[in-house]
Structure formats: C-alpha cells, structure tokens
C-alpha cells in the first residue's frame, strides 16, 4: 500500500513587545524567577487585564503579510484548564472570532532541480497569553513555579493540513520563522522558546479523500526535531496500520535523545476547555485607519522581493528564496548589486550565498557583522567582470579584504600585485616556455590523452603565479597544440 502523509502545523510565536499582553510587567528572557510576574500575571483577586496595543499591531502586521482577513472585531475567550503554571485557571485566548482569519504562505521546498513552490493555506492566527514554567527538579518532591513567562504575548498561527511530507513541513516552518522575523513581530529565538511548533500528523492510503486519525506532536523547538519527529511518527503510524492496529487520537512528545515520539495523553484524557467569552475584556475593534497605518509601515515582503529578484535580476527561484531568508541577507545582497551593477546580479548572488556564507559560518558570525562590507564585495565583483581578476585570485582578494589588508578590492590588487595578466603577448611567451619544457605532456595530448591538456594549463598558471587569464591560456594552448 502507498501512503500519503498529511501534516498541519500550529506555531506559537512570542511577540516582540517589552511588556506583557495584559499587564505592564517586563517580558525579557532569562530574568531571575518571578521578578517579572506582576499581580495581574499572578491572578491575585481583583486585578483586570488591559490589552497591549503593540501586541495587536504585531497581529495586524502578520495578517497583512500573509494576505489574511484582519477581523474588524475579534473577541477574547477563556480557555479553562488547571495547571500550576497558569494561576488564573484559564488562559486568555481567542476562539470563535480570532483577529487573523485565513491567508497563506508560499514556500520553496527542497533545492536544485527537485525544488518546487507550494502555497500552504492558513486557517487563522489569534492572540493569547503564554503560561509560566514548571521546574520539576528536586524541590523535596515538589515542583517549582516561575511565572515570568506568564502573560507573554503569543500569536498562535494555525495552518491548514496542506503539507504532504516532513520536507514540506520544515519548508513551511522555516518560511514562517523567516517571515515573523522579517516583519519584526518575533525574535525567532527557538532555543529560548520564542518560536515553537506543534505538528498534527496523519497518514492515509494514496487516493483516499478522508483524512486518517491524527496525532499531535507537541513543542518541537528546532527544524531538525520537527523533521525527525514527523519522519518517526509517520513510519510508526504506517507500521501500526499495516499490522492491523487502528490509530487512536493522541497527543505525543518527541524525545530527541531516542528519536521517538511517545504518548503524552490519549483522547479520553483530552482537555475539555469550556471556552467562553472573557467578561473582563471587551471586543477588540480594529478600524480601517489602523489597518492602513500598519500597511504603510510594512517593509517589502520576502515573497515580493523574491519575485522582484527573479523578474528584475534574472535570479533562479532557489537563489531568490535563499537571498530573502532574512532582511539582513537581502539588504546585503541588494547593496552588493547596487555597487557591482544589475548585470552582475548572478555573480553577486553566488558570492553572498557561497563564499561569504561559508566564511561567516566558519567564524559563527552574522551577516550584519561581516568584516567585508557589501560595497567592498561589489567592487571585487566588478574587477572579476572587467577581467582584472580571475575567480581564483578574486578569492585571495576576498580573503585579504576579510582580514582588513586593504579598504577596497582595487587597493588590495595594487598592493599585492594581483592584477590578472591579459596581455596576449605575455601569455603567449609563458605558453611557449611551458610547451618547450614539457614535451612529455605535449606528446601525451597529441596521442589523445585529454588529461595532459589540463596538466599543461596548470603549468602555465603556475608560471604566471595564478594571474594569467584562464580563458586566454586555454585558447592559446589549444591553438599552439593544434598548430
């Protein structure tokens, strides 16, 4: 039997506010326990929630960025359950009328020739408050409760079950992660729990219209775990069904050490949240003027930039997607092209995505702190374009710029005498020298050994200290050997 995988993802993004969603306590990560828990967050009697305008701003930004309907009127509801890190006994969330309704996210799946584009529809996104943290280390058989996180604003973003593989799920999660950072509503720090994913996974025979029974994998805090957890879960579900056992609806946890998912609670224990409108909060009304103001503040979105890079600069979909992974990368690339010229967009893309990225990666640096500025890289690419530098020597110049050995590519080329030799007389002299000194290679080439040609090219480049124009060397060698 051939199986089809069906995945939907719920994401909790902590919003980039300095204060909580319903109180004036700070939201900074890593503070001493309970120093950022106000009487509202602690649910002491008589306190009332007051909604943070910035949190609503963030929700509107997101709604506009994914082409969703931003509700003119949305309602806060109480989601009731008992857990010590939720002092009120309910979480303030949104249920029937969420602030963001519908929308979609177009994502690039995979790379190279197998890459394809897919639009994942969104169901909704709603505002809610985060819970505190329970610490289960040994406090004499008790649990410790830190309520600093209680009341931190969250946007819960719910996708439709549109993903058909773990790769699509990861592509969606990455694109969403990139987007919330791009529009500045979430810092995206997954280690600190700012961006957490739950995956709803089911399988069905290919061609069957009805969905299979799903299991929800909770709290996946890295893209790698998301993929591993889904792959494990899918295989587990297929094995169960093929061995004649039905899948029961359940919530499961992923254990990264063992690479397995395991049951947290079954459907019988599923929470019955008894949602109802929160009488402490009035309906949230978002007028057209507010919407238009936020629309005016939005930057060019990754999707728009991607399309423009393809249309105006002739980049491939893959390159355009890679270069719009974050605002910083896109800004660096655009500043490089501004210096090198639009005709050099493809080489600029390659330098940013390959050489620069590898060097940054090696030193664990951000692109914003790259020692080589876009203007310097653009200047370097100009010198490759006008044949002053071969690609190989250009890498040396890049290294010199990285190490601060010169302010511009031109300065490095002059100081270190790296100008490419394009004078055909000079190259011809070198070629003649090499041919005379290597009769063995010449004979081999004439006997049909193609490899001997490369050896000769190598000798000429060596004699030129790498500076001879490779195309000219090739052409001249071919001409001489033929003649």
């Amino acid at each position: 039997m051939k199986w089809e995988v069906v995945i939907g993802i719920e994401t909790h993004a902590q919003l980039a506010t300095v204060s909580k969603i319903f109180s004036g306590a700070a939201t900074a990560f890593g503070a001493e326990p309970n120093t950022q828990a106000s009487v509202v967050d602690l649910a002491l009697p008589g306190v009332l929630p007051v909604l943070n305008r910035k949190a609503v701003d963030c929700a509107i930004r997101f709604g506009l960025a994914v082409g969703a309907k931003v509700a003119e009127k949305s309602v806060f509801a109480r989601k009731n359950y008992f857990y010590p890190d939720l002092p009120k006994g309910y979480q303030i969330s949104q249920f029937e009328l969420p602030v963001v309704q519908g929308g979609g996210l177009t994502v690039q799946v995979g790379g190279g020739d197998a890459a394809y584009e897919k639009t994942i529809r969104l169901t909704r996104a709603h505002l809610e408050e985060d819970a505190g943290k329970s610490l289960h280390e040994d406090f004499h058989g008790k649990s410790g409760i830190d309520l600093n996180r209680a009341g931190t604003p969250l946007l819960e973003i719910v996708s439709e079950p549109d993903m058909r593989s773990s790769d699509e799920a990861v592509a969606y999660a990455r694109a969403l992660h990139g987007l919330v950072r791009w529009i500045g509503i979430c810092d995206g720090n997954m280690q600190e729990g700012s961006f957490r994913c739950d995956a709803n996974v089911s399988v069905r025979p290919v061609g069957q219209a009805a969905f299979g029974t799903r299991r929800e994998i909770k709290n996946l805090n890295s893209f790698r775990f998301l993929k591993e957890a889904i792959d494990y879960e899918v295989q587990w579900q297929i094995n169960e069904i093929e061995e004649g056992r039905a899948i029961a609806q359940a919530t499961v946890l992923f254990d990264p050490d063992r690479g397995e998912t395991r049951m947290m609670r079954s459907k019988e224990d599923a929470h019955d949240y008894r949602y109802f409108p929160d009488p402490d909060l009035l309906p949230l009304v978002i007028g057209a003027d507010w919407l238009e103001r936020v629309r005016g503040e939005l930057p060019e979105l990754p999707q728009q930039k991607r399309e423009r890079f393809q249309r105006e600069l002739g980049l491939s979909a893959y390159d355009a997607a890679t270069l719009t992974a974050s605002q910083e990368v896109a800004a660096y690339f655009e500043a490089t092209v501004a210096v090198a010229g639009a005709a050099q967009a493809k080489p600029c893309a390659n330098w940013v995505m390959v050489d620069l990225a590898a060097r940054l990666n090696k030193e664990g640096r951000d692109i914003a702190n790259a020692p080589v500025q876009p203007a310097q890289l653009g200047g370097l690419i100009q010198r490759i374009a006008d044949n002053t530098l071969s690609n190989n020597i250009a890498k040396k110049v890049f290294e010199a710029l990285w190490n601060g050995e010169g302010a511009t590519a031109d300065a490095v080329i002059e100081q270190q005498g790296l100008r490419q030799i394009t004078d055909s007389g000079a190259i011809e002299a070198l070629v003649d020298e090499v041919l005379a000194a290597n009769p063995g290679n010449v004979a081999e080439f004439r006997a049909g050994k193609e490899k001997a040609f490369n050896a000769l090219v190598g000798q000429v480049m060596k004699a030129a200290k790498g500076k001879a124009n490779p195309q000219q060397v090739n052409a001249l060698l071919k001409k001489k050997l033929a003649g």
Partner: protein, 95 residues
C-alpha cells in the same frame, strides 16, 4: 436536555469541585432547572441578531507597550505557602 449523574460528575471533575453522590443528585436537579430556562431562551427566534460578546456596547481600551509594573517578587513570595530559590513550590506535577 437533561444531564445524567455521570455528566455532573465530569463537570465537577473539570472544575476541581469534589461532590458526594447525594450532592450530585441535587446538583443535577439544579442544573436541569437552569437548562429548562435555557430551553425557553433558545425557543426565541434570534435570526439576524449578532451574538453579543459583552454586555456593554464598547470596544476594548488599549495600553501602550511600556513596562510599568515594578518587581514585586519579595511581597508576593511572602504570602505564598511554600517557596524556594525565588520559586513557588507546589505538589509535584508531571503530565
């Protein structure tokens, strides 16, 4: 609609209220009385009436994103039954 004793017990469990069997019977009768009132209301034709989210015809007031609450840990921990290392201690909970 009327509730069974089992449903009453479930509601009590969800609300973390302990009730005896006798109380469950009384509670069921009370709740069923309320359901009768609800049934009367549900008989009213409400087509075209927008569901009301709040008794007041007003919208939510908003506050600016400013940290205005000082750290009140010492005062709040002082009234808790048990604390350690700045944490509130509660009976062990692991799901």
């Amino acid at each position: 609609m009327s509730l069974t004793l089992e449903q009453v017990q479930k509601i009590a469990r969800l609300a973390r209220i302990e009730i005896s069997e006798t109380e469950a019977g009384t509670t069921r009768d009370h709740l069923n009385g309320i359901f009768q009132l609800i049934e009367q209301m549900q008989a009213v034709d409400t087509r075209g009436v927008e569901p009301m989210a709040h008794a007041q015809e007003q919208s939510q007031r908003l506050r600016d994103d400013i940290v205005s609450e000082p750290d009140c840990r010492a005062a709040c921990l002082a009234i808790a039954p048990e604390t350690e290392a700045g944490l509130y201690l509660v009976p062990k909970v692991i799901e």
